[in-house]
């Protein structure tokens, strides 16, 4: 594994930040302090961290309604994100986007997206930019198993394959699309096989194992940068919370979720590997846990006290030129 200690620490911090960020949101909503329509990424941390671990400033990612994790992994700051979710003018989108549209172009983050599948062509376009401008960059689309049934998936992957774009399509198969089990709506076992429709490279990773994702994402990103075209990378994983915060989760068994949480948790797996292999020490991780908690508490406190947007700003930012 080609990871330095520093990289491992950064990775753990990201995963922990994602987990704690989502847990904090769940608390805040339950306490009636936060509104909106929130889809939490907890349980899938290894995918965002593993793929984004292969990216740099030249690169782009697009995501879905369930996008906080990808933002954090791509380097968007928790403070601006939290302010956004609180609808403050200091939010990363000035309070206009919220959870489903959280974005930070400076960090190469092309936005969460409320339309299932819509992020896939956006990343494809970013890959076209990288190719035409010859920047060496790669664009990654993160999306769910459900999104692989959208026409946009098919159309964009076909175009990317035709044009050999530097793109990576990461499908996070978490077994559910809202309340519907994936096997009801996807008749193939592995979504990765859909790459064959475009003569595209494909791979399957254990989405709860950071190291597996990191390795396979590495191959995909390398191929993209080398001009060998796109890859469809399926990561098998699971979401811990309901589809959205407030979902009573009546449709899935507690036992199913418990099993994933206790036996397959991505943070636990990471920790036992790095500590077991003596790459990091448990105390280092606990220190990070503390720092993350402190950072998040500070972010919430700041967000709660930040100014609300001026109502007049409602009319701004529609057009670049009037």
């Amino acid at each position: 594994m080609d990871l330095t200690k520093e990289q491992l620490l950064v990775t753990y911090r990201k995963m922990r930040m994602i987990r704690s960020f989502e847990e904090k949101l769940s608390e805040l909503v339950t306490a009636g302090k936060l509104g909106g329509f929130l889809h939490l990424y907890a349980g899938q941390e290894a995918v965002a961290a593993g793929v984004c671990g292969r990216l740099d400033e030249r690169d782009y990612v697009s995501t879905t309604h369930r996008g906080h994790g990808h933002c954090i992994a791509k380097g968007v700051r928790a403070k601006g994100m939290m302010a956004e979710l609180f609808g403050r003018s200091t939010g990363v989108c000035k309070g206009k986007g919220g959870s489903m549209h959280i974005a930070d172009l400076e960090a190469g983050m092309l936005g969460a997206n409320g339309i299932v599948g819509a992020g896939i062509p956006l990343a494809t376009g970013a890959a076209l930019t990288c190719k035409v401008k010859n920047t060496g960059g790669v664009a990654v689309a993160f999306f769910g198993d459900g999104a692989s049934n959208q026409g946009q998936f098919h159309e964009a992957l076909n175009m990317a394959a035709n044009w050999k774009l530097p793109a990576v399509y990461v499908v996070e198969n978490n077994g559910w699309g809202e309340f519907t089990p994936t096997e009801f709506v996807v008749p193939v076992k592995d979504i990765a096989v859909r790459a064959d429709s475009y003569a595209m490279r494909s791979d399957i990773a254990d989405g709860n194992d950071f190291f597996d994702v990191y390795e396979k994402a590495g191959l995909a990103v390398e191929a993209a940068r080398a001009g060998e075209g796109p890859t469809l990378l399926e990561c098998k994983t699971y979401r811990y919370y309901g589809h959205y915060v407030g979902d009573p989760l009546a449709y899935r068994s507690k036992a199913e979720a418990e099993k994933w949480k206790t036996e397959r948790d991505p943070l636990d797996a990471f920790e036992s590997r790095v500590v077991g292999d003596a790459m990091l020490e448990a105390e280092e991780l606990r220190r990070i846990d503390g720092e993350v908690t402190a950072e998040l508490d500070a972010a919430v406190e700041a967000a709660e006290n930040d100014p609300l947007p001026d109502p007049a700003s409602l009319y701004e930012d529609v057009y670049a030129q009037e």
């Binding site: 609808g87 919220g98 959870s99 489903m100 519907t180 709506v185 109502p311 409602l314």
Partner: protein, 335 residues
């Protein structure tokens, strides 16, 4: 027997009645069953994101209550093909914002097949869809895009403002031999009123006079009807008698009810949750200035959303939406 039930419950009841009475009726959509027939522990059906389809798969089975993939274009196109060949499908399009990924089956198929085939086809399709803002769902889950479907010849579009109309309009839509877009406005989905238990319809294409008045006509639809009624209340305190019209059908439009009221009052304000360009408000304004010109004593007032996407932050979203205050202010401006 009538009882107070919500719009969401009235919709559920209408669906059940339609499925019971006609074996050709099928219901499809994302999570309308919600894995409800899965043979595993803990898989109670969800009944859709708003719970409007709860209990239906249990009663009618998953040959008639079908969970679809997240494939709105395929699902709607399939429903059009089914309608063309003898079924009477009801499709749930979770939010009207998703028209973006499935306009063609409505724009170029459902609405046009009968005409293109020289009258030799019928497309008895009902598309149910949630509309409107107010839940901080931001720009892609809060639109009131019924102006797009209302603008397409060959489609009908209806929007109830209360549970009684919701049930009756939905049953009328399902039984119509034409494709109908049935809007379920967020702003009223959980409002209740008296609703009879049995089967009845509210005819398509007929507006209602929700409150009589003589000084000004307020035209609303869906969630703006209650805003208009609240505004009328406030205006009454001032001595202004407002008549409130609930369009109910956006296409076809009941021009006569609007014109009759305008003739009486001479002034009109239209209130629409949608953005201002190319909308129902413009159509009502056009109706006034073409067929109602001689009745008009003042400019037509339009209370709509601004020409912007829907913002996330609650404070901005409130500023975005029409309100009784804005209606009262618009009425005062005409005086």
């Amino acid at each position: 027997m009538a009882r107070e039930i919500t719009v969401a419950a009235a919709i559920n009841e209408a669906l059940r009645i339609a499925l019971e009475m006609d074996p050709d009726v099928v219901l499809m959509g994302e999570d309308v069953a919600g894995g409800g027939t899965r043979e595993a522990e803990g898989t109670d059906e969800a009944g859709g994101i708003m719970g409007t389809t709860r209990g239906l798969v249990t009663q009618f089975g998953n040959e008639r209550v079908l969970d679809t993939p997240i494939s709105e274009m395929g699902m709607l196109g399939t429903a059009v093909g089914a309608a063309l060949t003898g079924l009477r499908p009801i499709v749930e399009l979770m939010f009207i914002d998703f028209l973006g990924v499935c306009l063609d089956p409505l724009l170029n198929q459902a609405s046009k097949l009968r005409y293109m085939f020289g009258g030799k086809a019928r497309v008895p399709l009902t598309v149910r869809t949630v509309t409107g803002a107010g839940m901080q769902s931001a720009a892609q889950h809060s639109q009131s895009l019924y102006w797009i479907t209302a603008g397409i010849p060959g489609l009908k579009t209806v929007i109830p403002s209360n549970a009684y109309d919701a049930k009756g309009l939905l049953l009328a839509s399902i039984r119509s031999d034409d494709p109908v877009v049935f809007c379920e406005p967020k702003g009223v989905l959980f409002d209740s009123c008296d609703v009879p238990e049995g089967d009845y319809i509210v005819p398509l294409g007929k507006a209602a006079v929700s409150r009589e008045g003589s000084d000004i006509t307020l035209v609303g639809m869906g969630a703006t009807v209650k805003m208009a009624l609240a505004a009328a209340e406030a205006l009454a305190a001032d001595g202004t008698s407002a008549e409130v019209i609930d369009l109910r059908s956006l296409a076809p439009l009941d021009e006569q009810t609007v014109l009759t009221s305008l003739e009486k009052t001479g002034r009109l304000v239209v209130v629409d949750e949608a953005t201002p360009r190319c909308g129902i408000a413009s159509d009502i304004a056009r109706l006034c200035v073409t067929k109602g010109f001689d009745f008009l004593d003042a400019p037509v007032g339009c209370v709509t959303a601004p020409h912007t996407p829907v913002p996330f932050s609650a404070i901005l979203e409130q500023a975005y939406m029409p309100s009784p205050d804005k209606i009262v202010a618009a009425v005062r401006e005409l005086s």
